[in-house]
């Protein structure tokens, strides 16, 4: 059982709190707005606390000094989420933080200050939209910031150098590995002898920066537009 502090009691914060409580964790949820706090108080009782979660005294009242195992910053303001995570980690020694990024343009600030992992609804929706588009491009599925790795999905193109070759014959970028190959709805772990065919859905893990090389190998040259 973990002790989690959730800052921000909107739709996301209250749902996360409900779920964590169901799973048997100890949770305190902090909300600044009076009206929202009253709603939270009805559902969560003493687990809901009123106050500005970027104030040290409010975080301390929530029990951050014990310390909390995880702080989840999911307010609607990115600057608040950033500062909450910085305070949690650097002032109170909280080992794990999770931050919500409301405006994807602010992601760079979270990266700059080393706040990870982050969750962005916009980014996830975009990934799903891209996933549904019949474009032959790399689709980023998971970003592992701490490891500096990402998992991408790509469809092997008709004219790709990789089509018809075995994995061991591919000149993959040094910083990438293929994970699995899916054909006709069946996935297999990619090993040296796995043969790639046009239309296969391939999952790959790679270091950011190697996308273009991997794309060219598996998809083929960029279509002229």
């Amino acid at each position: 059982m973990s002790f989690v502090i959730v800052v921000g009691g909107g739709q996301v914060g209250s749902s996360v709190t409900r779920k964590l409580l169901e799973l048997g964790h100890e949770v305190v949820i902090v909300e600044q707005r009076r009206d929202r706090y009253l709603t939270l108080d009805e559902e969560f009782g003493h687990r809901a606390q009123a106050g500005d979660g970027t104030e040290l005294s409010v975080l301390e009242n929530a029990g951050i000094k014990r310390p909390a195992d995880i702080v989840v910053a999911v307010t609607g303001d990115d600057e608040d989420n950033l500062i909450i995570c910085q305070l949690a980690r650097e002032l109170y020694g909280v080992a794990k933080v999770v931050a919500r990024v409301n405006d994807p343009r602010n992601q760079a600030h979270f990266d700059l200050l080393g706040i990870a992992p982050t969750v962005s609804a916009t980014k996830m929706v975009m990934a799903l939209v891209q996933h549904e588009m019949p474009e032959h491009e790399l689709v980023q599925l998971v970003q592992l910031r701490r490891e500096n790795l990402e998992i991408v999905e790509v469809e092997v193109g008709d004219s790709a150098a990789a089509a018809g070759k075995r994995v061991e014959q591919l000149r993959l970028p040094e910083t990438s590995r293929l994970i699995s190959v899916m054909r006709d709805g069946k996935a297999e772990i990619a090993v040296g002898s796995t043969e790639l065919r046009a239309g296969d859905q391939v999952l790959a893990i790679l270091q950011p920066g190697g996308e273009e090389e991997l794309r060219t190998l598996l998809v083929g040259e960029k279509k002229k537009t």
């Binding site: 970027t54 303001d77 990115d78 600057e79 500062i83 343009r105 600030h109 700059l112």
Partner: protein, 136 residues
């Protein structure tokens, strides 16, 4: 020397005018167009409308070549993030930031930029007045 002022309220606008008077090239940024009025009728410097966290706005305002950045919007957390971005991402030589909350001001005081807490200053000044020569 070039100064960028992010947040052009009472404090920011007064600073902008004063630095301009002292011969600085001053660029001001504020979220609202109204802030331009506080700079006076014939503000000779640049003025950009936009949010301090928006790097496109900061870059258009020339943050990369600024010698000094002063961050004084009405949000402590916005100010603290902008100050860190100015220092770490754009490597601005001198960064000063206003933080109302004394606790956060103290925590961020040792990160390569100057933190000014008007709340702390007011407490100190008023306490000095109260305690100066008067008996309890």
């Amino acid at each position: 020397m070039k100064a960028l002022i992010v947040g052009c309220g009472r404090v920011g606008s007064a600073l902008a005018k004063r630095l301009h008077g002292a011969g600085w090239e001053v660029v001001a940024v504020d979220e609202t167009e109204d802030a331009l009025e506080r700079l006076g009728e014939r503000w000779p410097g640049e003025f950009h409308v936009g949010h301090g966290l928006d790097t496109a706005v900061l870059e258009a305002a020339g943050i990369a070549s600024a010698d000094l950045v002063i961050v004084a919007t009405d949000g402590d957390n916005t100010n603290l993030v902008v100050a860190q971005v100015a220092k770490l991402r754009y490597e601005v030589p001198r960064v000063a930031v206003r933080v109302q909350d004394p606790a956060r001001a103290a925590f961020y005081s040792d990160r390569g930029f100057d933190v000014v807490s008007p709340t702390t200053s007011a407490i100190e000044a008023l306490a000095a007045l109260a305690l100066d020569g008067s008996e309890p």
